[in-house]
Amino acid sequence: MASADIQSQIPRLAIVWLTLSVLVLVYRQPLLASNKQTLAGFFARLLSAWLLGAILAIRYSGDAASYMVDYLALAANALQYDFHVALRIYPARPDFIHCVATSLRDAAPVAVGTELQVFIGTDRLAMPVAFLFALLCAWPVPNVRARILLTLLSLPLTVFYLCLSGPFHVVGFLENIVQILAKLNHVERPEPPYYIWQQFLDGGGCWLLVLALAGCGKWIVSRNAVQLAAAR
């Protein structure tokens, strides 16, 4: 990495540093207290669940996306008012969502009625979901009940993750084209918040979001375990 690259990467590096710091702060003691059996179990579960999840995600992400495109289009249209977005699974490549956006108003550099087309790979959504599933399957917990609960939690957390990322990927990719057009035409165009969020997710933030959601899942399970013990 050249020094100029490092300078442009400083905000990103700062986020990585803070994330690592939080992880070290929270997991230093549990990691130092764990033994080789716990570690072997964690990594064996993580790798096997990741392999299983990733293969299933690659194989079936197109099928799963075909059920979601209507909801994604609805959310994408609610997030912004510049375009009307229509989505479908691209027949030639079922692992891609074909987005056709029609401009609803004159917003430089795009004139009203302009049609833009974007292709979004479903793996952008599917891979973090597979990792979330793997993390929740692998996380060290005290008993089988907690393990089952944590694994089942991957379903609502997956839905939550998809709500926080799917529509933003659609409108973010669209906005990315408009931003490129604006730069080419020397037009000033502000970056809307949904675009900044999508850029964050696309630049690796999706993995941080997955880590945060997995942490929430673990917290829900540990809280539930405490309440169950108290009820007994």
Binding site: M1, A2, S3, I6, L13, V16, W17, L20, S21, V22, V24, L25, V26, R28, Q29, L31, L32, S34, N35, K36, L39, F43, L46, L47, W50, L51, A54, I55, I58, D123, M127, F131, W219, S222, R223
Partner: protein, 181 residues
């Protein structure tokens, strides 16, 4: 979450300083390694590392499937079924630098650090030879799976195994200090 609540109720300044300092040192060291690696010319990297590495991959492929007819030409695996070139980002250097930086930053004896670095090097080379061999077979026989395996599946496996190596090394270092593990 207990750690979070403890952090706000009774903040341990030393723990916070360690939690900020270790990742900072790790990042600085990782960037230094990465910068040094970026300074190496393609020719010297190819001659000293990629060419022998490609030859090792070819040996493993021939061991698994002797009739494959694959040959190593500099940094490229060539056969009638598919070609695979090993370039800068394909040699597992990123993962190795990461684990090196983590081991170097963690407080332990020089002997333990050297042991950890040698283990990390061996694991990185072994994993990467297996990865390239697997990718070659995917490209030759299941080309649809090559891209997802190369871009999505394999990097996470490499990263997880690197984390596992560090965690096990940590366990042995900790064992040397307090008899646990």
């Amino acid at each position: 979450m207990k750690e979070f609540s403890r952090l706000f109720n009774s903040p341990n300044i030393r723990a916070i300083a360690v939690s900020l300092g270790f990742p900072f040192g790790f990042l600085v060291l990782y960037l230094a390694f990465d910068y040094g690696y970026g300074m190496l010319s393609d020719e010297s990297l190819g001659f000293f590392f990629h060419t022998p590495f490609t030859a090792a991959c070819v040996r493993l492929i021939k061991f698994i499937s002797p009739d494959e007819g694959v040959v190593a030409v500099q940094n490229t695996l060539l056969s009638s079924k598919g070609n695979l070139s090993i370039v800068r980002t394909c040699d597992g250097a990123d993962g190795f630098f990461m684990i090196c930086a983590a081991i170097a930053m963690f407080p332990s004896s020089l002997y333990k650090k050297t042991q950890g670095l040698l283990l990390a090097f061996a694991v990185t080379i072994l994993l990467n030879v297996c990865r390239i061999t697997g990718l070659y077979f995917l490209k030759a026989y299941l080309p649809d799976w090559f891209e997802p395996a190369h871009v999505d599946i394999a990097p996470m496996i490499m990263l997880s195994i690197n984390c596992a190596v560090f965690a096990f090394w940590l366990c042995s270092v900790k064992g040397a200090f307090n008899g646990k593990c």
